[in-house]
Symmetry: C2
Subunit: 407 residues, 2 copies
């Protein structure tokens, strides 16, 4: 055996030098260098720390993407998502990619070129949906909220009735500004106006109540690395029957083959069969299955209540520290990602550095329209527990004191 | 503390019942049910078994996608890819998604609507590129090879000179048919004709020699779950300076925001800064970094030679078993994914079932144009070693004997 192998290796050698000069590996990162991943407490807007069960699932052996035990794991994901999204729809799955990929999948499948989409903009996610909708040929109308505010039902109703869009986009939890958009009445409004409703729940699903069917939502996408405490790379997705009808009756092909839900749904068993489309992120599906199972075991109501309770605990501490919420109206505040006004004279980045240096604790700055104006604190999933919230409050108090802050 | 928490939980409860009837979790997959991932030896066309170091990396703690230690891991990936692709280009990175996503990224960025793309079709991957190119508005010309054959340089030259395409696509390793497309002379041909060259190396990179710069290739994409023995979800990608010039001088916006390399490159530091675009699959980047490090530690020439040696060991055994290669010309055969002609009277699926039942060993059937005609055996990465190749040969011999096969 050994000599046969060595002979084969010798025969193979000429392959490497057929007129090409092979660059050496001498200049590479030291081959003995190990990957450096420090432990951090991620209390920013996400990723949040992964649940140990999800991390364990990430290291399970690979299965083939068409093997029955793997298809069972996909079926579990679909079933858990029906519970977590509160829907009876057949059309739930995990998109192979980040929340961003799922955002693109939502628009690409539901909006046809030339159709009007009304985009609620309460921060950067709405801006992105406006951008990517235009790339797919959509006729984009933006409906802008003031910074740190949400859209009133009246303003949405007025815009829908004026512009008669085919699609309305709303961001349930806007992580750049810390706002929570009310969805009350919007589903019925859309239905009455022949409009499909897409809702971004990247940082809310599982942490804030949402009822896909009763609220009349047509497309929901989310992320793994926020409330589900799971590594990113596989993202919850849902379509209503009405959204599916729209997809099936499109006049144009979906521009992205990679995110074509007619094809991907056929891999997920939406139409009864199983056709190969792409190789899904096997390990990420394992971990997402675990994350959804953990949420189901806890129970949705308990998970919602825990996030709300930790949000209240956070603000009790921050208020005591002399800090104020960036979002003025209490009903507009997002429990999962909190924006905190930076007091005058305080160096926001220095406080983040203080927390990272002393506790390996992530306190994040603003993003997009809130950059330089706020800190952001995530209350999500495995991280939504008193030990973490208490540490955040302590770090704020100490970091502010270090800058001589007086309330 | 405890009583404050309980009070908060009580206050939070009404959230759950504001007029919505919450579906219970009683019907879900048993909450005590653990995830079921049997151990399998994946000797089909991929995913192949992951290297234990990659699986270990998958379970490391999360880092923020903009944290310096994570950016360092991304830099390592870029640097290792320069070595593994044999290029000095700045423009290497891992696409956040499967090889399929990277395929779409390649076409979406390099081809403008209305431009001509010549697609070499030697199996299903060429067909897919033709499909997705048309979706992006490309003017697609297919150049088809016979089943189990590759395209001659003369036929490529003739087609390039006749059609004057802006982009040429070739699949280096066509896993559906088991063919390896020679790239000799094609880079220079493209350069002389003002055409950019995209090469699919999903199942060849690291296992078969490829020299991006010296071969004059403009875009390469690959996958993690083949030769690199890494879970899928992050995919090697490369652009030449010429490809970057084309991207920068596009008249139209890239249709997919999610795969816009102008933006993603800016997250990977291609232009000197670091701008947030999306949350990459953190854990998959850890694992890919490990997989590339393992390849660099082994050395490219050694990895190529090992794959070639295991290919020869496989065919020594299969020939002894009375089986024949589906690809007639030896120089057209792909060492990484081997296609084996199913002898007359033999039930191919029954043999696959035999191997799975007895050894938890995956022997795959055909795909697309080769469906029903062949078995497919992968010789890739961590799986490319004598113990696995020997078991495959044994399973074939026993499985054939069980069906009464005589050579």
């Amino acid at each position: 055996m050994a000599s046969r192998l060595i002979q084969a290796l010798r025969r193979a050698q000429p392959l490497t030098t057929r007129g090409y000069a092979t660059v050496s590996n001498a200049h590479l990162p030291p081959v003995a260098g190990v990957i450096d991943v420090p432990q951090r407490i991620l209390m920013g807007p996400g990723p949040s720390n992964a649940h140990p069960r999800c991390l364990a699932a990430m290291s399970l052996p690979q299965l083939g993407h068409m093997h029955p035990p793997f298809l069972k794991i996909m079926d579990d994901i679909s079933e858990y998502l029906r519970y977590i999204m509160q829907t009876d729809s057949k059309y739930t799955l995990a998109v192979s990619g980040s929340g961003h990929a799922a955002m693109e999948a939502s628009v690409a499948n539901i909006l046809e070129p030339g159709e009007k989409i009304l985009v609620g903009v309460t921060g950067i996610w709405g801006q992105r949906v406006a951008d990517l909708s235009a790339r797919f040929g959509g006729d984009v109308v933006e409906l802008n909220a003031g910074l740190g505010e949400t859209l009133s039902f009246e303003s949405i109703k007025n815009a829908v009735e004026t512009h008669k869009p085919k699609v309305l986009f709303l961001c349930h939890g806007e992580s750049s500004t810390g706002t929570k958009q009310s969805l009350e009445g919007v589903g019925a409004l859309c239905k009455a106006n022949g409009c499909l409703l897409i809702v971004d729940t990247v940082c809310t699903l599982g942490g804030v109540p949402i009822f896909a069917d009763e609220m009349g939502i047509d497309v929901i996408y989310s992320g793994a690395q926020k409330v589900f405490g799971c590594p990113p790379g596989a993202s919850p997705f849902f379509m209503s029957d009405a959204a599916m009808e729209k997809l099936q009756s499109r006049k144009t092909t979906v521009a992205t083959y990679n995110m074509d839900m007619k094809l991907i749904g056929d891999y997920w068993g939406w139409y009864g069969g199983r056709s190969y489309h792409h190789t899904g992120p096997i390990s990420n599906f394992y971990a997402l299955r675990e994350a959804l199972a953990i949420t189901a075991e806890e129970g949705l109501e308990n998970s919602w209540a825990r996030h709300q309770a930790m949000y209240e605990l956070l603000w009790e501490g921050l208020t005591d520290a002399g800090l104020e919420p960036f979002v003025k109206k209490e009903e507009d505040r997002l429990p999962c990602v909190n924006t905190i006004t930076v007091p005058e004279g305080i160096d926001a980045a220095a406080l983040c550095g203080f927390a990272m240096n002393k506790y390996n604790l992530e306190i994040a700055g603003g993003l997009g329209p809130s950059a330089g104006k706020v800190w952001r604190i995530g209350i999500m999933g495995y991280n939504a527990k008193p030990m973490n919230v208490n540490l955040v409050v302590t770090a704020f108090k100490e970091g502010l004191a270090a800058q001589g802050f007086k309330k």
